[in-house]
Symmetry: C2
Subunit: 454 residues, 2 copies
Amino acid sequence: MNEAFLKALEALLGPGRVLTDLPDRIAYGSDNSRRFGLPLAVAFAEQAEELPEIVQLARRHRIPITPRGRATATTGAAVPSEGGLVLSFERMNGLLEIDPTDRIARVAPGVLNADLQAAAAAHGLFWPPDPTSAGYATIGGNLACNAGGPRTLKYGQARLNTLALTAVDGCGRSFRTGAHVRKRAAGYDLVGLLVGSEGTLALISEATLALRPLPPARGAVRALYGDASAAVAAVVRVLRQPVTPTAIEYLDPQALALARRLGGAETGPPGALLLVEADGDEEELPRALARLSQALTGEGLLELQAEADCGRLWEARRKLSPALRQAASGKINEDVVLPIGRLVGFAHRLEALSAEWRLPILSFGHIGDGNLHVNILFEAEDRDERMRAESCAEALMQQVLALGGALSGEHGIGLSKRPFLAAALDPMTATLWRELKRVFDPDGILNPGKLLPD
Amino acid sequence: MNEAFLKALEALLGPGRVLTDLPDRIAYGSDNSRRFGLPLAVAFAEQAEELPEIVQLARRHRIPITPRGRATATTGAAVPSEGGLVLSFERMNGLLEIDPTDRIARVAPGVLNADLQAAAAAHGLFWPPDPTSAGYATIGGNLACNAGGPRTLKYGQARLNTLALTAVDGCGRSFRTGAHVRKRAAGYDLVGLLVGSEGTLALISEATLALRPLPPARGAVRALYGDASAAVAAVVRVLRQPVTPTAIEYLDPQALALARRLGGAETGPPGALLLVEADGDEEELPRALARLSQALTGEGLLELQAEADCGRLWEARRKLSPALRQAASGKINEDVVLPIGRLVGFAHRLEALSAEWRLPILSFGHIGDGNLHVNILFEAEDRDERMRAESCAEALMQQVLALGGALSGEHGIGLSKRPFLAAALDPMTATLWRELKRVFDPDGILNPGKLLPD
């Protein structure tokens, strides 16, 4: 069966397009989650037109397809957990069009976020999603996971910045949905349905994206508070005045200490930090920052500092996720979202969890959207610590759901959050998800084992 | 069959909840499209909990359900074109919660847009969609049609401002989807799928909406250009600089002349008008308007005027749609969307269409999104004019599609735009729409005859 499939696939794609050697299969077996599955083979998609045949072939042979950009997913969404074919889009990386008049880009799915940004910048434009992995993450992957990043607060996630898609479903049916315009009230929003579906409904073969004018100036304010409660109160004040910041990033006391070490900063007073960034034109920016500073000022504020030091600290903030890999040999990173009104309670629960499970917990992230990256650190070699970390993560997710939060803000569900879906999803919504999956992929060959509840 | 259904429905809902007298049935038989269908009966929804039973009862008896807010739809979306039950949500109008910390409102579907705005304003907040009908249109209807309005340009349509929904599908299955948070990457976006689905997939019983801080100041600039081409070039300049206006409204020369008459203004020079509105804080606003004025300045500009006169002209702009009813006894209003880069060509084609079909055509609307309301005027009593108007509308829609545009920006498809769907939709996308419809409503009892292609 597998042999016949591989032979037919090689015949379809031609030489150099299908890898079956073990080292190659291993190399394409994991993503940034460090989970692993050994695929039967790796194939490189090159043309949108050939995708229907690839899917039909796989379907006839009941071979799962795991679509893959550059595998920066943190959830296992790009791991071939059920074997089968890894279909890499890395070679399908054409920047098809930049339309500066309509501020629209049309790209193949393997284009890197950073390459799109560079091409758009040449026209004074940008695409809002800015995940930390932008330099080596593909647009296809950004769309699959509804990617965000700090400036989502002002400009929205991938779904809000996607206008049209061409895709191929699990039956090999190619379809185009959406339009080269920014406003629509014309039927079912398949664009929004595909974005965030983690490759379980269709393979995206082309995307039409909404760009925005690059703001000529950016600036930031750094505010240090005595505790999480004072920092959250400041976030609420900022969000209720009319200047929308580009980003409000938060570092809890543990994350702040680590960021200071990374940034080479002197030890400062302990506390919770907010970095508030704004953009705009050169004349308006100082006024916007003054307004934001005013909103940041209130009870519990220890230090308020404009711009000067922010570059270094922001850099350190960006290094935090990878650096945690050095700080401890194991980490569980839960990308959760809380209602702003529940963040203080959540901070207290994190302290209690850390004490209960005797493990360091650091949280930081895009607090303006309520989106925090909570990191539980442990020694990977220590079986007892590892098990405590897993129990702690489970307790954490229960707390998030109990507080009315969401499982993921921007990383997605993949493999790693599936165990929590049953508790998070309304049972009838779960049923509808499964029924939608069957419409697009009746035999379940597209990225099986991901996203959907059992 | 019908008798048994009505008896069971009356037993379920109790006295005063089901109307079967002819005058009542006639009163609930049309919407703002002036299309008409005579329903079997009218029922008033009062509680979310009773919706599953109403739907199950209708399904057992194969009775269509046409959900209805206040029937401001311009497309026939609220017309019971296949008879059956009109289910009115006008009594289900509870403002359930305003959460100022998270800037979120939770409402029953029958709440009027204006009532939500008033309640939100008490907390210094607003909900972005602002259709002209806001004073008498329900949130449920706004969601059904993915309502927009002028300030969509800056703040987005209904879909982008909806966080969670509770709804009942065509099998009577109640489900909750989305969350009380502003950022999500957790599976299939059923919220986005239901918004804009015109009641064909599910009845919305509760909506959780994203509010924004009310800007303390607003201002506008009015710019008159020699022709459409110069006005569109100005729109492009405005959209490529970093100050996002709240709205860019356009009046073509015909619409401008009518607006001037309505506003009691002296006759001015002929031309195409842009009204550009901005909001922000008091100090920032003048600078934003200066920046916008700078972008508006260019070839073909005849007059540039700040604020002073704008109130009256804006008012006249709002009166345009209803006033067209007086200007001619018949009008066809096509709410189309064009790529900005195609608007000049589109203006020329409108002139050609007007000449070819010997009918006045006025266009105005939210040009910043490429969303124009094109009005073809005719004498309703004149059979020849009426037929020419219909042919002209058909030719118009063909032009829109040929230019890469979309059938509707904010009014939706309903009954009136269904004939154009076959040409507008990719055939496989149309198939997927039908398959999605079957998931939610296998017997096709929810708003049959609307939105979906034949």
